[in-house]
């Protein structure tokens, strides 16, 4: 008998084949030309615009929107990419509701900001669809830089270095470049293999060699990289995952949300991807939301996201929370996991309700679960790294680490939000600082 949403356990093919395509379609479909011009018309071209300040890469948003309004989306794309070479991905994944669009004066005035993210996508898609790469390399400097990690931070750093005339080699432990763009971001935010297309487009600048399957700490050492290159940039993200520290955490059915998501992102056929009937996600960030929503979209019957503090403390934005709710995810707050029950495989997760300071209330609840996703944060992985600041690599504003000749940026570096756009900004700025230090 064919599996359905009601089938107990972890199983594939809960939905009709066509449902998968529909469920995982573009969350925000692209604007057509007319829609883009109408949306662009709402921009006031503010002076010293607050949206620019709110963007970690400081894209000149009013200018690019005006360029869309006047029928030159290609010029708009250049304005965007000049500041943010992954402007295409950022247009899709940025939590604009807490960045540029939150700062938009029309948000203040009407609660309806200019649709900056979608306009950015319209511009960058137009240029990339034409296969145009508008940047060229400066005269070769003869300097060689190693970039470790082909995520947003590493890619942005490599592109800017190549533009400045340096030769760059990117080493990445994974099979494909892209970092979390390829393995982490929710599937409905970046459809049709956009992550790889964007990497291919970015590499058109030339002067960048990508070596995948090369891990720092396994295949490479920082010492050797330093010896072979004029500078090293670390953009290794957060490879580890925090454990819950619970009894029964080793039961079958309990796994890291990021692994589930990575598998989903790499799946050729989503109907072959197993998912539980009763899914519990533990955590309150973007990863938790993405795991919960995608489990639901794969056909799980009940998906419950449980966060230990109040809603207002959740890292996921209100928009993300609403998205999850609209897809049918139940959000439970102020509940900490205390035990995972089951006989071999997980059957229930037990939570204790807590107050906002995480003090236990003595009240407990058991939520049925045949699949549990751990999403309480990622952590830096690796030995022999430069000095840390807390749990991440300590860096200056320009990305310099405690080790001479080694820079770092993105999620692995202390400071800044763990966002794609922040990683791009930090990678770009480190590249400029590397450039300055290399050419004197």
């Amino acid at each position: 008998m064919k599996d359905t949403a009601l089938t107990p356990g972890i199983t594939a093919g809960r939905l009709e084949p066509r449902d998968y395509a529909e469920n995982f379609a573009d969350l925000h479909p692209p604007l057509d030309r007319h829609e883009a011009v109408v949306a662009a018309d709402r921009c006031y071209f503010c002076h010293d615009a607050p949206c620019i300040t709110a963007c970690p890469t400081e894209i000149d948003i009013p200018l690019f929107i005006r360029q869309i309004a006047t029928g030159t989306p290609e010029a708009a794309a250049e304005t965007i990419l000049d500041q943010n070479i992954l402007g295409g991905m950022c247009a899709r994944v940025c939590p604009t509701e807490t960045l540029c669009e939150e700062a938009c004066v029309r948000e203040l005035a009407e609660g309806k900001p200019v649709e900056i993210g979608r306009l950015q996508r319209y511009a960058t898609d137009t240029l990339m669809d034409r296969g145009v790469h508008p940047f060229t390399r400066a005269a070769p400097t003869g300097k060689r830089v190693a970039v470790v990690g082909a995520g947003p931070a590493g890619l942005a750093c490599a592109h800017r270095l190549a533009m400045r005339g340096h030769d760059v080699t990117i080493f990445d432990g994974h099979d494909k470049p892209g970092g979390l763009n390829e393995y982490g971001i929710a599937a409905y935010k970046t459809v049709e293999d956009f992550a790889q297309d964007e990497v291919d487009w970015l590499l058109k600048i030339g002067g960048i060699t990508v070596e995948t399957g090369k891990r720092l700490g396994r295949d490479l050492s920082l010492g050797a990289l330093k010896a072979d290159h004029d500078a090293v940039f670390l953009g290794i993200g957060l490879g580890g995952v925090n454990a819950l520290g619970l009894d029964g955490e080793d039961r079958a059915g309990l796994r890291d949300a990021v692994d589930f998501i990575a598998e989903l992102r790499q799946a050729d056929d989503l109907s072959q991807l197993p998912v539980g009937r009763d899914v519990v996600v533990i955590g309150g960030g973007m990863t938790a939301i993405d795991a919960a929503v995608q489990a639901k979209l794969l056909g799980a019957l009940n998906v419950t996201l449980v966060y230990r503090r109040g809603r207002e403390r959740m890292n996921a934005s209100v928009y993300e929370q609403d998205l999850a709710a609209s897809k049918g995810v139940t959000i439970v707050t102020n509940a900490s996991p205390v035990a995972v029950h089951g006989n071999g495989a997980v059957r229930e997760v037990e939570f204790e309700y807590t107050d906002d300071d995480l003090a236990p209330t003595g009240q407990r609840v058991r939520i049925p679960a045949d699949q549990v996703f751990r999403a309480i944060g990622q952590k830096l992985q690796g030995d022999g790294l430069p000095d840390l600041d807390g749990r991440k690599i300590r860096v200056t504003a320009a990305g310099r680490t405690s080790v001479e000749g080694v820079w770092a940026g993105g999620d692995c570096a202390a400071g800044g939000d763990d966002l794609t756009v922040t990683a791009v900004a930090e990678g770009r700025d480190a590249a400029e600082d590397i450039h300055k230090s290399l050419v004197g």
Partner: protein, 433 residues
């Protein structure tokens, strides 16, 4: 990135975008910041004789907006600079020294007597400015004193003052024309006859932007009264384009350089002026609405357009549309088109139907299920349905191929060119040669 450098009557600038003589160019502070923002040149706010004029102390501007407060037209009752001549001249000299590659033209307006012009021209030459522009356009205040448009409306005065300027100065002379006149070619001809190196147009248009219906006074209202002002901004562009084209296509005026002004807001507006014969453009309202930075879009847009067209210099665009601007009588009457409604794009609003049924030729049919179709036997191809349709590209005009029968006239469409001059209905028709 295309090369946008321009040479307008020997005055070089990094791009064809100049700020027009107006508040944006009234002082050193502004002009320096404008150059830093990317403007290629400025025409300094009009200088006059000392003592300086005074402006009203109430509102100077009125406006016409779209529903979303997009500024469509601006009206002003500001006069020329209200700062002492000496102050302006010192500042012009300083800025020119620091920006040798940018254009600085000085706008002038003094009473119509030779000594006044001679005196002021000598002072301007000492600043190192690149040229002068004669303000014969200001339509309010100054015109009551016999200057501005009061000069521009009398071709003899235009010619006379231009001659004085050419006699007493070696600087290039641009004559700025007023649009408040029936035939723009007359003052343009006068400027040319006076020896002008170029004309610039348009200055502002006499206007009242609105009436306060409680005070019963025109806007902007000053202590219960108002005076007509000069209209500018996007709303005046079509008027300006036509006047530029009229000069560009008139044989006697051919070759007279034109600086195009009036409603330039985007790169496209600028490109249109250039195509109609302007050698550069001047901008006022767009800068006053959006700030100096607005020029960046003009630069990137024009550059992209030129690259796409394969133009390597602005000159290749200048005047390219002029040969296609003709008299009505020259239009091809054998060019027969019909409106076509794309049913896939149609959203069934019925605006085309209302327009055609009520005010045109009853050439659109409407079915019970709101399908709208063109009746070729009635369609005169007026284009009204295209203009009122809210969906771009939904209604288009399609040409009937030669040999087809036009169901409206029953005549076979000819593929040769035939205009009114040879049409049988024309009482004055001349035989085709």
């Amino acid at each position: 990135m295309a090369n946008l450098e321009t040479d307008f009557i020997g005055i070089k600038s990094p791009n064809p975008f100049w700020l027009a003589s107006a508040p944006p160019t009234d002082k050193e502070y502004n002009v320096r910041r404008a150059f830093e923002a990317g403007w290629g040149g400025v025409v300094w706010k009009t200088l006059g004789e000392d003592p300086p004029i005074v402006n009203v102390n109430g509102p100077r501007y009125g406006a016409v907006w779209g529903a979303d407060r997009q500024l469509l037209g601006l009206n002003n009752i500001e006069l020329i600079t209200d700062r002492p001549l000496e102050t302006n001249l010192e500042e012009i000299a300083r800025v020119k020294r620091d920006y040798p590659d940018h254009a600085i033209v000085v706008s002038l307006m003094v009473p119509v007597n030779e000594d006044s012009w001679k005196a002021v021209l000598r002072r301007v030459e000492e600043t190192g400015a690149d040229g002068v522009e004669l303000n014969f356009g200001c339509p309010h205040g100054m015109s009551e004193r016999g200057m501005g448009s009061a000069v521009g409306q009398v071709p003899d005065y235009v010619q006379q003052v231009t001659e004085w300027c050419k006699t007493h100065s070696s600087l290039p002379v641009i004559v700025k024309l007023t649009p408040n006149i029936t035939d723009i070619r007359k003052p343009a001809q006068a400027a040319k006859d006076g020896g002008a190196d170029a004309v610039s147009l348009i200055n502002t248009i006499n206007s009242i932007t609105g009436v306060d219906l409680d005070l019963f006074a025109p806007e902007p209202t000053i202590d219960g009264q108002g005076a007509h002002g000069g209209y500018c901004g996007p709303a005046v562009k079509p008027i300006a384009l036509n006047m530029v084209a009229e000069i560009a296509r008139t044989p006697d005026l051919r070759g007279l350089p034109i600086s195009g002004i009036g409603g330039v807001t985007t790169w496209r507006d600028a490109a249109e002026f250039l195509a109609l014969g302007a050698g550069n453009v001047q901008v006022c309202t767009a800068a006053m609405t959006y700030g100096f930075k607005v020029v960046q879009e003009m630069i990137s847009g024009l550059s992209q357009y030129m690259d796409e067209k394969g133009f390597t210099s602005v000159d290749e665009l200048v005047g390219r549309a002029v040969p296609q601007v003709v008299d009505w009588k020259d239009l091809n009457l054998n060019y027969v088109t019909k409106a076509r409604i794309d049913q896939d794009l149609c959203i069934k609003c019925g605006r085309c139907y209302a327009a055609c049924e009520d005010t045109s030729h009853q050439a659109i049919s409407m079915s019970e299920d709101r399908t709208f179709e063109v009746i070729d036997a009635e369609c005169v191809a007026c284009n009204l349905c295209v203009n009122v349709c809210p969906v771009e590209g939904c209604i288009t005009m399609e040409r009937l191929a030669a040999g087809q029968v036009d169901p409206r006239t029953g005549a076979v469409v000819q593929d040769d060119y035939a205009n009114w001059t040879t049409h049988p209905n024309n009482p004055a028709k001349c035989a085709a040669e």
